[in-house]
């Protein structure tokens, strides 16, 4: 079983989207990531090796890649990172063996590292930028009570100063001004609106101003190298684009068109660096002979999404799909349902996060594991007709896989009698499977999102 991807084609589509000033692709491959940062001098960029989960730093001039971390525990991996202005240090989130994230700091050259901050109560950390003197790390903390906090963490002793807390919401990106006085971040403009604005928060916590106010979704702010402007992504006007605003006079300028899954990483004197995510799990259809444990047709790609599920009567297919701009989380996910007539309906419950879905036994609802707008995790029953949701106690989200099981990138037949048999092997991990009630048609999702990093010339 092979998974055919279209990454090459997609790359050219993305490049064409940026046609005009011709952004330069500066990093592709397993280390390129939307989770990294760029040094102020544009010499270094950080990313995550998708295979190993280790932190990687790439010299943009020479192309040399250096692995900064070396995993030891089975669960551990690196996540968001930021490089200090002097390029000596890198701060990064590290998923530890206790299943939450530490903030660590490492010497870029030697890889020598130490834990700066480890607190299960703030179990997810997102380092965004260093202060100009490299003494503070601007970090987003995500607390157990479902609030996010804009915090400065000392790069010396790990002490924390929380500047601002946000209930149930989180910025997508924050950045320090080059003079260290201001922090730019994005957040919902007002409660219960989709509008995102850009704010400037004084680094000493003394005041805050709204820098960008617009009905659009504005996010991922980064300061220009001289601090005079803030670049950000916006879906205003004719689609997603990189915009800039001059801090002094609020003058707006559209810089360049952008793909929907663009994430700004940082700016240097000459370039704006951004990552574009593409790909992800794709949905395939094939047929299987369960008696002999073999696929009988070549898998055919029928769409993109995750967590595919077939209704109990076999007439409808549901999966998780994505819309809108990149947001690191999953609140842009919706449930796509292919009806018997082939039309696809979007069911969008007011859930903040959906991890996995399956049809309910009566075929009228979808069981969705995830969390609601206040971060309460659980399994919710989503009414297909109304998209309303309610907590469904004791209702597990289970695949209708029959005797089939997934082991990473392999599909196995586990019959009641006889030895388990490997049916097929995919090129990437298999994310979900769904066996049709006819016992012959099999759907599965497989694939892995990838990122590419581009540099947009600002001069």
């Amino acid at each position: 079983m092979a998974c055919y991807n279209h990454l090459g084609l997609l790359r050219w589509v993305l490049i064409l989207l940026f046609a005009g000033t011709s952004p330069e692709g500066v990093w592709t491959g397993p280390g390129a990531s939307h989770l990294g940062g760029v040094s102020r001098d544009g010499r270094l960029i950080s990313g995550i090796d998708a295979e190993s989960g280790n932190l990687v730093v790439r010299n943009l001039a020479s192309g040399e890649e250096r692995r900064v971390t070396h995993k030891s525990g089975s669960k551990e991996f690196a996540y968001f990172s930021a490089i200090s202005p002097d390029s000596k240090w890198i701060a990064y989130a590290w998923f530890n063996d206790d299943a939450f994230y530490d903030l660590r700091i490492a010497n870029v050259q030697t890889g020598e590292s130490r834990t700066l901050f480890r607190n299960e109560e703030a179990g997810f950390v997102q380092p965004c930028a260093f202060s100009p003197d490299s003494k503070q790390i601007l970090t987003l903390l995500f607390r157990k009570d479902n609030i996010s906090q804009i915090a400065l963490i000392s790069a010396l002793d790990g002490s924390v100063r929380v500047l601002k807390s946000l209930n149930w919401v989180y910025p997508k990106k924050m950045d320090f001004s080059p003079d260290g006085r201001w922090i730019a971040y994005d957040n919902f403009a007002y409660e219960r609106t989709p509008q995102r604005d850009i704010f400037l928060l004084a680094a000493d916590g003394s005041r805050e101003v709204r820098l960008v106010e617009n009905p659009a979704e504005d996010g991922f702010p980064v300061f220009s190298a001289d601090g005079a402007r803030v670049y950000f992504l916006s879906d205003r006007e004719d689609g997603p684009a990189v915009w800039s605003i001059t801090v002094a006079n609020r003058k707006l300028e559209r810089i360049h068109a952008a793909a929907t899954r663009t994430i700004l990483l940082g700016a240097t004197r000459s370039s704006l660096y951004y990552a574009v995510r593409h790909g992800g799990a794709e949905i395939y259809r094939t047929t299987i002979d369960l008696a002999v444990g073999q696929l009988t047709t070549r898998p055919e790609k029928i769409g993109e999404g995750t967590s595919v599920s077939i209704s109990p009567d076999g007439a409808q297919i549901a999966w998780l799909a994505r819309y809108g701009t990149e947001n690191f989380g999953a609140d842009s996910r919706y449930i796509a349902i292919r009806k018997p007539d082939g039309k696809i309906a979007a069911v969008t419950p007011k859930l903040a996060h959906i991890e996995k879905i399956s049809w309910s036994g009566d075929g009228k609802g979808i069981l969705a594991s995830g969390s609601d707008g206040k971060g309460r995790a659980g399994v919710y029953r989503v009414d297909v007709a109304t998209a309303s949701h309610a907590l469904a106690e004791n209702a597990p989200v289970e695949e209708n896989a029959g005797p089939l099981r997934v082991k990473h990138d392999e599909l196995w037949l586990v019959a009641k009698t006889g030895e388990p048999k490997r049916v097929a092997k995919a090129a990437t991990p298999i994310e979900s499977i769904a066996l049709h009630p006819d016992g012959k048609t099999l759907l599965f999702t497989a694939g892995r999102p990838r990122s590419e990093v581009f540099a947009l010339n600002l001069q």
């Binding site: 109560e121 607390r143 009570d145 609030i147 916590g205 003394s206 805050e208 206040k374």
Partner: protein, 307 residues
């Protein structure tokens, strides 16, 4: 220039460093000092019998111990005196949230016939005449009282120390209560964030039907009987509880939410919790862990902290 004079307050552990204030009234030391004098000055009331501190007593976490507020000439209000700790972080004021700035809020009790029963021009004239406040204007009254209220901050409790990483700060019973607070008790649905409030309005099933609560402000039927979620900071020393002071103890409060008796417009988040006696006790123990330090005025080490 005013920005240069803005005061950077040292906040207690657990609170945000950013204290929101309008550009027109950044927190300044001179205004805080003036506001503190005014806060304790009985000349703000018609009969010179009450100051702000009469109801917002520092020793009672800036509220009092009465079920319903009592104003000038023993006139009885129809709601409990709310605490004003951490109102710097507030988004709206009074139990029904009818006012959106502290600058406006601080002037209303002075003018309320049930509270201080003065006019603004009258109180300013009286204060100027006293010689204690030369050149005082209504705007000074507003800005300085608001500035002082912004410095009344409660934090640094065992709960805050636990959140900051001190795993010994809570007893095992309090820790069990914290888990219930976030889980089965569903308390965190409204009491969230550093100030333990969502700043929204909920009908929690207390009080009679005669008080429309938020509905009077919003005009929405669903807001009938809804009141703003209060902070839980220092809640253990702020009895009695709820907007009408109808529950005398924290045990009664937990019991109330545990039972969640049905009534019109009851918030959908409130439902029977089926807590055991141990669980109710643990929740109360946790609520007691929210008692910490209250600081006010210019300097938390200047003898103005209240324990």
């Amino acid at each position: 220039m005013t920005i240069l004079l803005a005061l950077q307050l040292a906040v207690p552990l657990g609170l945000d460093a950013l204290i929101p204030a309008p550009d027109s009234n950044p927190v300044r030391a001179d205004r805080v000092a003036l506001g503190k004098r005014l806060f304790f000055d009985n000349d703000l009331s018609r009969n010179r019998g009450l100051s702000c501190a009469t109801c917002h007593k520092p020793d009672y976490a800036f509220t009092d111990d009465l079920p319903l507020a009592v104003g000038i000439d023993q006139r009885r209000g129809h709601r409990r005196t709310p605490t004003i700790v951490n109102r710097a972080y507030g988004k709206s004021f009074f139990w029904d949230g009818r006012i959106t700035t502290l600058e406006e809020q601080v002037l209303l009790p002075i003018q309320s016939p049930e509270e201080m029963d003065m006019t603004l021009s009258g109180v300013v004239a009286r204060l100027k005449k006293s010689g204690q406040y030369p050149g005082l204007a209504v705007s000074d009254l507003s800005f300085s009282l608001a500035s002082y209220v912004r410095t009344i901050l409660a934090g640094d409790s065992p709960y805050d120390r636990y959140i900051a990483g001190d795993r010994t700060a809570l007893t095992s019973e309090q820790l069990a209560g914290l888990r219930l607070f976030r889980g089965k008790g569903n308390c965190v649905t409204c009491h969230v964030g550093p100030n333990l409030t969502d700043e929204r309005f909920h009908n929690t099933g207390t009080g009679g039907t005669e008080d429309p609560g938020r509905a009077k402000v919003s005009g929405k039927v669903e807001d009938q009987g809804a009141f703003k979620t209060p902070t839980l900071r220092d809640v253990a020393r702020r009895a009695p509880y709820m907007h009408d002071g109808s529950l005398a103890t924290l045990d009664e409060v937990v019991e109330h939410y545990d039972q969640a008796r049905a009534r019109p417009h009851l918030d959908s988040e409130i439902r029977p919790l089926r807590l055991t006696a141990d669980e109710r006790n643990a929740l109360v123990a946790f609520l007691r862990s929210l008692t910490g330090v209250i600081q006010e005025g210019m300097n938390k080490n200047a003898g103005s902290s209240v324990r």
